[in-house]
Symmetry: C2
Subunit: 265 residues, 2 copies
């Protein structure tokens, strides 16, 4: 099973939109997909159309160890299940502060997933706190969603340090597997410049270089497309909302590129 954490502590860069639509595209390609919403804002959960009444037990109870994975998953689409988030999760980082093994609660809870799914996608909140650390401790691959703006590059170093820390202390199998540029506006020079800068950065000599040894900077860019912002309001994936849009084309292409990369690797 490919276990992937979609991360970036910078807010609003497309993590959740990628979780929903990359997950949907992979499931449409026949992969059994398990999505985990690890953000107290629960946007992934809402994006897929779940009502507030349908979200218990959630990832919060799963972290607390009071339910099994099987009791939490909801089939949300053909071939795609979701472990939802809801507002109680907002208290988790403080509540879990003193718990022994607080960083590996999710890893233990997700262990049964290995035999049941082909892809595990964890949507992280915009922070490097305990929830994101749980995601990084539970997976083998980090997919960085990046908005090609200047401030995006600033956060990258800190994110990589955090991944490195988890890799050294908790999860030796962790690595950066991919970087996907989201909200790409091809009419602007800035996006192209930042994309080139990202590419240079990942090829350069860097003390943490081994972390992204096998990383793949996706050739597919997710272009800025208002349909991607409209779909959540209807509780739909981009494929249900607007099959012919650029957003649908790009996420389908991203999934195909990812599958090809897995086959080739």
């Amino acid at each position: 099973m490919h276990s992937i954490a979609i991360t970036n502590q910078k807010g609003g860069v497309g993590k959740t939109t990628t979780g929903v639509n990359l997950g949907a595209a992979l499931s449409q390609a026949g992969q059994r997909v398990c999505l985990v919403d690890l953000d107290p804002q629960a946007h992934l959960t809402m994006h897929l159309g779940l009502e507030p009444g349908e979200v218990k037990p959630s990832v919060y109870e799963l972290l607390g160890g009071s339910v099994s994975l099987e009791e939490c998953v909801r089939t949300v689409r053909p071939n795609m299940v979701l472990v939802p988030a809801e507002i109680d999760l907002a208290g988790a980082e403080i509540e879990l502060v003193g718990v022994v093994g607080r960083e590996i609660l999710l890893r233990d809870a997700l262990d049964p997933a290995r035999d049941r799914y082909d892809v595990l996608l964890i949507d992280c909140p915009p922070s490097l706190g305990l929830l994101t650390i749980n995601a990084l401790s539970a997976v083998e691959e980090v997919l960085i969603a990046l908005q090609p703006h200047f401030l995006a590059l600033q956060g990258l170093g800190k994110l990589l340090e955090t991944v490195s820390l988890v890799q050294r202390r908790i999860n030796a199998r962790l690595g950066i597997s991919g970087v996907v540029l989201c909200m790409y506006d091809s009419r602007t020079a800035l996006c192209g410049e930042v994309a080139a800068e990202v590419s240079r950065f990942f090829k350069s000599e860097h003390p943490l270089k081994s972390l992204w040894q096998g990383a793949h900077i996706f050739k597919t860019y997710i272009r800025r497309n208002i349909r991607l912002a409209e779909a959540p309001g209807h509780g739909k994936t981009i494929f249900e909302y607007s099959q012919s849009s650029h957003g649908a084309q790009d996420y389908k292409a991203l999934a195909e590129e990812m599958l090809a990369f897995w086959r080739g690797a």
Copy 2:
């Protein structure tokens, strides 16, 4: 002094961009402005061009009570000073968990600002954790930065509950003073629909309605403009980077609308 916290737990909606450019516009209109960067990512600090070596003592030391406000402020532009953030702040929420009066550390530290500045603008991180609570406990006005997308509306309720909680338990003078729509794309129907929804929401009957009794939904929208995303890469405000851009026009108009609102109120 108008003391304002720029908040929204949703990431990437324009809080920092508003902090820099509204602050700059107000200072250019003759207001003495004090900016406080309360985000461990320190994007406001970087946006104004400070080097990593120039940021101690920072807001972290201010919260810890080891320095005074006077020792932290840097004059970054004519009429505008900054209390910078830097990476140590990332540990603050955990370190301060057990401290008595942990929510009012910032309020106490900013008390000297009252006589020295006309406007205090605090840039908050994308969360409703202890740092944002400190900001809400320290100010009288909340300015909500909102991206007119569907998911933006979902977070609003939670944000208002948090403001209400702080108002009832810690800071009776707190209220929502304004809502500014950022990253507005007038070519899309979605932005107009969400803007109308926001307007309806703030006029409707709601148990927390008293919180936004005097609130002003700004008529000025900050349009999506790539210049606003380019300016941080040069360490410049939009006025220094591209005086004639839509971004500069919009933030100047926002400042004028805010000043008129203060005079009229």
